[in-house]
Amino acid sequence: MSFYDTYSRYKDLELEEVFHSISPVSIFNSLKGNNLSVEQFFGLLSPQAENNLESMAQRAHALTRNYFGNTMQLYAPMYLSNYCDNTCLYCGFNLNNNIRRRRLTLEEAEKEARFVSSSGLKHILILTGESRVSSPVSYIQDCVTILRKYFTSISIEVYPLAENEYAQLVAQGVDGLTIYQEVYNEQVYAKMHISGPKQDYRFRLDAPERGAKAKMRSISIGALLGLGDWRREAFLLGLHAKYLQDNFPDVEIGISVPRIQPQVGGFKPISPVSDRNVVQIILALRIFLPRLGITISTRENPEFRENLIALGITRMSAGSVTNVGGYALYREENDQFSQFKIQDQRTIDEIKTVLEKRGYQPVFKDWLYL
């Protein structure tokens, strides 16, 4: 069992042909019914559906409100290490980039944790560059032990692990796994990942399944928009999320659709994605999978983030920094050595105020360590 089988079935789909068969009536019908078919989902991503964005938004808004209420889960990312064995063209941590490499000591990790938790946030996402040597599982595990004192929910975004390694971290107190395929198109994937272990497309693609088998409570997947054709990428991302929901019903599945942001390497999106396109993707995913968690990070600018709130977003990062030790230790390195540039630099308090003004309850804690 692997999502690769589903991927193989759809990867060569003739987009033009399928889009041709989509009528305004079929789009209209998708907005009325429940349990959309894969074809209907594709219809919502079609060029024709761009004419229906407002009705899609109304539907997505109503679904999100019923299933998630007037609440917004908040979390912060925390970078533990930026050593990396890969040369991903779009990433600031690329092995060939001349940035200061750091790995937090356990004492430093605790300082960062203390800083982030002073805001009241109880959900943390810890990240490392993809280097098994520099940030081995044992190191992540040691950090988790410390972070548990400060946070009630700990998610990881690290290199793909084996099932038993995920299980080891779950036993230590990790409850969430974030792993983005970056780009589903295998050929583009190969072009973006020129060297290093990340070249292994399949091992990464199957990582969410291994995490689910290891009893992760929530799993978030994503496509980095700007690499492959966005309609196809969003379609495959939706199918991947559905595949995980169908096969692991006890895991909360979430997605994210980050767009490439400026970083040290100066990489520019191959296939640009407009605000309008991002909105269409989010709406289509929400209507296709009503219970799907949808995350929007501080990669996007404040105004756009605020406008997306009502369209289906359920989780937001806030007050983020994307460099190692960026909260309490090396704030001055933010601009130079971050993984990517943050657009929304507002503090957690400011985000809280914005949410409250818009009629959303900011949720600081929504899990507890069992």
Binding site: N66, G69, G120, P249, R291, K365
Partner: protein
Amino acid sequence: MGDFLEIAGEKINNRLFIGTGKFSSYLIMKQALTEAKAQVATVALRRVDAGSKTENIMDYIPPECQVMINTSGARDADEAVRIARLAKAAGSGNWIKIEVIRDNKYLLPDNIETLRAVEVLVKEGFTVFPYMSPDLSIARRMVDAGARAIMPLGSPIGSNRGIKTRELIEILVSEIKVPIIVDAGLGKPSEACECMELGCAAVLVNTAIAVSQDPVSMAKAFSQAVCAGRLAYLSGIPLAGKFADASSPLTGFLREDKK
């Protein structure tokens, strides 16, 4: 008022229980609970944040409200049991709504794991309220295991589809001796009223109140509907028929015999 629901020594006059998730703020949630004069509120332990630097939900539950902690997030009996124990240790009382869900698409409960949790928690002295898919055999086992009430769903959580499981709930009402409290899926006050007319002991509503335009008024509306339905049930609802009573009954001639 002579009619009240008694559970574990608590006398409950208001048969509308309110769930505390999904509100746009704790303040509005508190106003809704107050305005509806709610006496029972369910709270997910996962949301309780005792040493909170921001806000703790428990500070917004009116003192006259009995808190029923729910085990939201539990995927099996063991997790539900652990959540219940943590709740007790944190001083959140011992009324536990057991919610075990292994299905994130429909959020339908796992009756077997729920039953296992009932068995353990009753023995540990908890007042246990299992949330379940309406099933007579399992409900009987839950009662045998010591559940104080049975909480069958009307339709999936957050779906606002009303009491789609009506036939099964009617069976539970007639066969199960502990209170039947319909939980989940009620979208309108009329549906809450319908549950009460059927003889349910109470209903639990969250989404329909929390995501309405005016949650405070909606809470009141539900409360009134629950009162009306209860009163109707107690008054004995006449059987509904499709046809008018025949003015010349077929057995009219038998009247003569009475003389």
